[in-house]
Symmetry: C2
Subunit: 307 residues, 2 copies
């Protein structure tokens, strides 16, 4: 079995991805189409039992909520407003109606809270584990334009919402998509680039650097880590690499970063400057300053560069 | 495990299905939203290994093609033009890159032929069978309006494209979605109601009758059956009940039915009048005239009414 990124890479290079309605295909948090002169944004996420959730530690209601929240987080990452979703669910035949109702109640909890109705889908069943795919649509409101990963420029401050790492302890099932936070950031800054953190801060920041043709340097002392990260090791290393934070990662000018921090109204969600966008030398690279060292992120860990 | 229709019924009755962009939620071949003043239609289909295809009799290329073709058939059923699709695929970990490429080539064959690019999606893997969900978007072109199941009126002629039954012998993997046929029918008649036949003619016609608050009577002698139906039994009974024909089922006035038959340009796809819409007495009922008998469709078979 090839790795998922190899499959995606093959798909992107060998597909018919064109058409009069297409604005942006694969490669960002959401694809963008033009419909009736308006931008329609689309994302999809699949949750698989035994891979993305475990029914011995997660309730079915949490699974339903998470399926919606992952896609809502993508909407936030583009600064878009969700308008509807399609659900494709493959139920294991052993599930009872009461269990299916629990899953549904989690989906509906998110649908109501974020005003994003499930408007259709497909229900199937089989003698295999639960699979749920949500495809979600959003539009740009109040004259906003989609915020891509590709707009970071040298000198930008790198910022994150919330505290990172340790999501696996439970937050990955209950997190709040940062929709209102992303709208506030958009409306109070010139937002250059943004994405949500789903695969870990360091790896995801590299997506921004790759699409923007820049590099980035983080400050180890500034990385906000959650109370849930392991205290046995360096908690920042968890904050840098743990997946499923679903926080916003974005870049703005230094001035805008100062203003955003000054005006930030949310007391239960932190906002932090964690580093800076720097010129690219050898392709998109992620560095970190730790004490007096500068380390390079290799994809699987950190390599010493200078003392 | 409850039946799929019970689950769907529960979902429809217990969901937040509203919003300023929503025009039509679950219950037709596609949901309809309003985006930028234009109608955006959306459908989704999941194909599961061991349920909807069997890799001992279907190639992976055929599975990829079928996944797209099922949704393209829904676009045809609404008289809409596909503009893009999202693919969520859960790969069994034993698959090789060469096998994944075969699946992809089938998807792309349909994408190119019907100008419907896959613009995004999600790739996941697990130690379970293959699952593929396609969510497809379409728009109304040339001033057309979506054709629903709910517009049939008493006196309408019931018509079908193609020949029915026996799709399981192979046609369900290779069928051509009736997109150009549906556009031609729309442009040359006042099309009252339409859907595609996916669960069998008799059961699907009941959806039109239910949504339109009418009943229907078919003529046994007129039902076009495919060469692939079993010749051991009554071939018409297969044509009435076999699934996955993916032909168009629609109703128009008697005049329009005559004109459509006269002007029908396709020699490789038949067009047939098979019955008539009649007033509803005891809810939506499907009758069939066979010799001098009138039979009632019960959902699982046919019940004698009059001699």
């Amino acid at each position: 079995m090839p790795k998922e990124f190899e499959i995606i890479d093959y798909f992107r290079k060998n597909s018919h991805i064109t058409g009069e309605h297409l604005i942006k295909g694969p490669g960002d948090d959401m694809a963008v189409m033009k419909v009736g002169g308006e931008e329609l944004l689309i994302t999809a996420d699949t949750l698989l039992e035994g891979v993305h959730f475990d029914l011995s530690t997660a309730t079915l209601e949490q699974v339903g909520y998470k399926a919606m929240a992952c896609s809502l987080s993508d909407c936030a990452a583009m600064c878009s407003s969700p308008i509807g979703a399609i659900g494709c669910t493959s139920f294991p035949t052993y599930l009872t109606m009461a269990q299916i109702e629990q899953l549904h109640s989690g989906v509906q909890k998110a649908a109501r809270k974020y005003n994003c109705p499930i408007i259709g889908g497909d229900v199937t069943s089989w003698d295999n584990p639960l699979a749920i795919s949500i495809t979600m649509f959003s539009v740009m409101k109040n004259g906003r334009k989609p915020v891509y990963r590709s707009g970071a420029v040298v000198g930008d401050r790198i910022m994150v919402t919330g505290k990172l790492g340790g999501s696996i302890k439970g937050r990955h099932l209950t997190f709040e998509p940062r929709i209102k936070e992303s709208e506030l950031i958009y409306d109070n800054s010139d937002l250059h680039s943004m994405m949500d953190i789903s695969d870990g801060l360091a790896g995801d920041l590299r997506h921004i650097c790759k699409e923007s043709e820049v590099s980035a340097i983080l400050d180890h002392a500034l990385i906000p880590y959650s109370d849930e990260v392991s205290t046995n090791n360096d908690p920042v290393s968890n904050a840098l690499s743990d997946g499923e934070d679903f926080e916003l990662l974005f870049t703005v000018s230094e001035n805008d970063s100062v203003n955003l921090l000054k005006e930030w109204p949310y007391t239960n969600v932190s906002l932090t400057v964690i580093g800076e966008i720097i010129p690219q030398v050898n392709g998109p690279e992620i560095f970190i300053k730790k004490n007096n060292e500068k380390l390079l992120f290799t994809g699987t860990g950190w390599e010493h560069l200078t003392k």
